[in-house]
């Protein structure tokens, strides 16, 4: 029987009387993309969080004397309450073979009661990776660049590539109906959009 201790984030710990076996699963998922020829290609691999499974973790009313938990008729109840308290929180699992594994979240902890005064748990943990959100500055968009033929080019910087025609003068319009039509159009737009002229 191996010794397993679960430590809550507030420092409180619980040790099982013994665990028959426990398994640490480390896995990597390699992506698959089907292609026309019928095979698949992969472009990257994802390292999956570690999983720890305890098989037959025993809690009795009479633990071994060298364990940090006192015995008593309510020890089995306290074990259930402790596991309930770490549901949805992160904890640390200390084992003999794998040492200390932090940031573990309990996934399931079904228990079996039998004629003996004990509970046998099968517990699954999953290691949680924590990430921090950050702000990234994104540069403002720059005007599109085109070559002499009018084709858009990529990777060019902004305004400096435009051909500078220097200082230019405006030319008065001919006036008349076309100006009236334009002013009428602008006034209609201003009215429609609520822009004060």
């Amino acid at each position: 029987m191996a010794a397993i201790t679960i430590i809550r984030d507030d420092g409180q710990a619980f040790s099982f009387d013994g665990v028959v076996s426990y398994t640490l699963t480390a896995s990597v998922t390699v992506t698959d993309h089907p292609i026309e020829s019928g095979s698949v290609v992969s472009d990257h691999a994802q390292v999956q969080p570690k999983m720890l499974s305890l098989s037959r973790a025993i809690v009795t009313e009479t633990p071994f004397s060298d364990q940090d938990s006192s015995g008593g008729a309510d020890r089995v109840t306290r074990a259930l309450e402790f596991l309930d308290s770490i549901a949805g929180a992160l904890c640390t699992v200390v084992s003999e073979r794998y040492g200390t594994i932090e940031n573990m979240a309990i996934l399931r902890y079904p228990s079996t009661a039998d004629v003996l005064r004990r509970l046998a748990f099968d517990i699954d943990f999953k290691q949680v990776r924590l990430a921090e959100a950050g702000l990234v500055d994104i540069a403002p968009s720059t005007p599109v660049q085109v070559d002499a033929g009018g084709a858009e080019t990529s990777g060019a910087a902004g305004l400096p590539d435009a051909q500078d025609a220097g200082e230019q003068a405006t030319t008065p319009t001919e006036g008349g109906e076309q100006d009236e039509a334009d002013t009428s159009l602008l006034l209609d737009l201003a009215t429609a959009l609520g822009v004060e002229v």
Partner: protein, 119 residues
């Protein structure tokens, strides 16, 4: 009087300095072949962007609806027809500038025949 803005259709991306109502601005024109359209950007004299990448659409002010605090006081309008070609800029497709005073002067005067409705 309203004024035509100069254009250089042979140069697919050009920029120039122009004086509008006593203030100087930079206008950049870009022909985008994929979209078959001219786009105009308005910049301050030091090339600080004021309004960027607006399509020249006939019968419309490319900067309308923007609050151009650093821009000119008047209004632009694109004169021509849509479905234009690159070489039409400056010919059948022209950017025209109207001062605010010109627009105000074009507001129809009240005739006295209006009916006031109070809601």
């Amino acid at each position: 009087m309203a004024a035509f803005l100069p254009a250089f259709p042979a140069i697919p991306q050009h920029v120039y300095t122009v004086t509008l109502e006593g203030a100087q601005f930079r206008l950049q024109f870009t022909w985008r072949r994929r979209l078959q359209s001219w786009y105009v950007s308005l910049l301050a004299l030091d090339d600080t962007p004021i309004a960027m990448g607006r399509r020249l659409s006939a019968g419309w002010d490319p900067f309308f609806g923007f609050v151009l605090e650093a821009g000119p006081d008047g209004f632009f309008v694109v004169r021509g027809t849509d479905g234009y070609a690159r070489e039409d800029l400056g010919a059948s497709l022209r950017l025209v500038y109207f001062t605010r005073a010109e627009l105000r002067a074009a507001i129809p005067a009240a005739t006295g025949d209006e009916v006031v409705v109070e809601i």
